[in-house]
Symmetry: C2
Subunit: 353 residues, 2 copies
DNA sequence: TTGTACGCGTTATCAC
DNA sequence: GTGATAACGCGTACAA
């Protein structure tokens, strides 16, 4: 079969006249050997060109050091950056990640989970929204979700309420006379999705400060063309409805905020004085836009790190002889950061307009 | 240790009064059992709530169905989309991917490779540029690189020459009187990097068609601010140098093309008649830009699919009793597609300008 | 069609 | 400090 049989502990044992056990100890508890013997073995490893086999180790001790990840896509910068940060925790925690792209179909994602379980993953990080947390909680392994429905499982989320509150506050600070929040959340009455907090933060700020406001909830479709079309309509509507007021627009993501900026620029050649915009996500487009867009940044690095950390803590707990299982899921919250750019701070501009 | 011991073939064997072997056959060669017995075992699996253990299977038959991936980052859309497509091939080939983000340091990436080998990956896909192909070729497992130096290993690349040729041709087609190619490749004399082909395609087209042209090779730095600064200088230079000519700009990626578009829009309020632009990559920004940017699209889905396919073929070859090892590495080439948008086809605009 | 016996490469347990 | 031996869960000659 194989070209050359792999070098095993047995070969090293024969070569050094030690036992397999001692070789194993060399790797897992080297201090229990004399220094001389450590060196003998070290030399043998080089001589024989030994390559470790973690699969055998897994079978023997049950620790795969695998974490499963199910993420909806990598098209949105938000998700690809999240995966980036998750994978980067390898340097901190040493866990390897088995990643599946969820396609939104429950049956497919269940298949992925079964496959992950077959590889004896020690924990699971879920970013996909497909499978209810109730079902996830019954899988019998530690689970952490990020920014999704999380009633029955541990999770890490952005403080969306704070984000919405801050974004609205920024617009108010610049004396907007009406503040409009454009969001695509399906049901405004569904507080299970963390992102709903943005809406509540917006509403609360406006109510508390008695600011004229409007909430526009609209499904925009999935194509860029469709989004552009819907936002163009919304823009016309707003322009007609509040002609003489200074308008503050809080848009639920930077991609859509950028479309609005482009529509305005193409219509007026510049950003009109009576339009201020704030996006959400701190995605690259907020910086690459023709007018850089003020935005609320989710701290993706922290979200990922805390998610893995929370998961690792639970996985470690399970390895104890008498694990203390959680009675209630832990929900961590990460504060967002407000990034002031040109769509609210005109003085940041280059002076061309 | 564990809450409940896992159900194994042994348990099923006892429960059904078959032998372990028969249970194994049920999974790997079910036709060799009678239908009745298949049903008996199927029922037992449900009764006992059996969960398969692929780790044990790996140790027994040596097939991990793991492919290692080392990718430079997920910040650039090009890479995240590539990873997306690679992971998606799970549905076609069934291989799982162990992904590491290369940080550009040779020693770190070597560590990652050792870790991957310890998990007995069957093949390796490399997108990172860090480790020379010579060294990779000595790893003793099938390897495919994508869009990087590939002298000693199999690879899949975009036909960059064709892309450069097409992009230049598009500008020529619109009667540009001078065509300028802005690229950040370090050494223009290094044809080892596939992307160098773009430069050659540009040069050849201009020479063949006797078009006035200029090649600007410049390291732009890593920050967005730095890129903006450099490109602003370049723009001033070009404007001063060719004041009365229709200028065609072929920029080596869409991010930088977008910066140029923004600079022009902010200076003139619109895209001047004497500037035509073509980018490279078909990244989202080419569509999201205030003026959608004509671009050359790498067919990332095909690149990924062909890379995995090429790898799978070699991995399968190794599983045969008498593997035919490749004498020479195979290099596949994928044709890019030219996407005509507004920076060259003004009639595609919405008419605002 | 089904069963026996052993191998895969490491770790854990208990001796010495 | 070191060693013998039995797991870990499954695949596979070989035999019946």
């Amino acid at each position: 079969m194989k070209q050359k049989k792999n070098v095993t502990f047995n070969d090293i044992a024969n070569y050094t006249h030690f036992s397999k056990t001692t070789i194993s100890r060399y790797f897992n508890n080297p201090d229990s050997l004399t220094l001389e013997n450590q060196e003998i073995i070290a030399k043998a490893l080089v001589d024989l060109d030994y390559k470790e086999n973690k699969v055998a180790r897994i079978l023997a001790n049950g620790k795969t050091e695998f974490i499963g990840v199910i993420i909806p896509n990598l098209f949105l910068h938000y998700y690809s950056e999240m995966l980036n940060q998750i994978l980067s925790t390898y340097e901190s925690f040493g866990y390897k990640f088995l990643v599946f792209i969820g396609n939104g179909q429950e049956e497919t994602e269940r298949r992925y989970i079964q496959e992950l379980l077959a590889y004896k993953i020690e924990g699971l990080i879920i970013l996909s929204h497909t499978i209810p947390s109730k079902e996830l909680s019954e899988l019998g392994i530690p689970i952490v979700t990020i920014e999704r429905e999380d009633k029955y499982v541990c999770s890490v989320n952005t403080d969306n309420y704070m984000g919405g509150y801050q974004a609205t506050g920024l617009l108010a600070e610049h004396n907007c006379e009406v503040i409009i929040h454009i969001n695509y959340i399906n049901s405004p009455a569904n507080p299970d999705v963390p992102a709903y907090g943005r809406v509540q933060g917006f509403l609360d700020f406006c109510t508390e400060h008695q600011i004229k406001h409007e909430l526009i909830l609209k499904e925009m479709g999935n194509t860029y063309e469709s989004i552009r079309h819907h936002l163009s309509d919304i823009l016309d509507e707003i322009t007609g409805k509040y002609p003489n007021l200074k308008k503050g627009l809080f848009i639920s993501n930077d991609t859509q905020a950028n479309v609005l900026v482009n529509l305005l620029i193409r219509k007026y050649g510049k950003l009109p004085e009576d339009f201020l915009l704030v996006g959400f996500d701190n995605s690259p487009i907020s910086e690459e836009a023709v007018i850089p867009i003020s935005t609320v940044g989710q701290q993706i690095d922290k979200l990922s790190y805390e998610a893995v950390k929370l998961l690792v803590e639970q996985m470690n707990e399970r390895k104890k002889r008498k694990p203390m299982l959680l009675k209630e899921p832990i929900h961590k919250v990460i504060t967002p950061v407000l990034l002031r750019k040109e769509t609210t701070e005109k003085e940041l501009g280059t002076g061309f307009f």
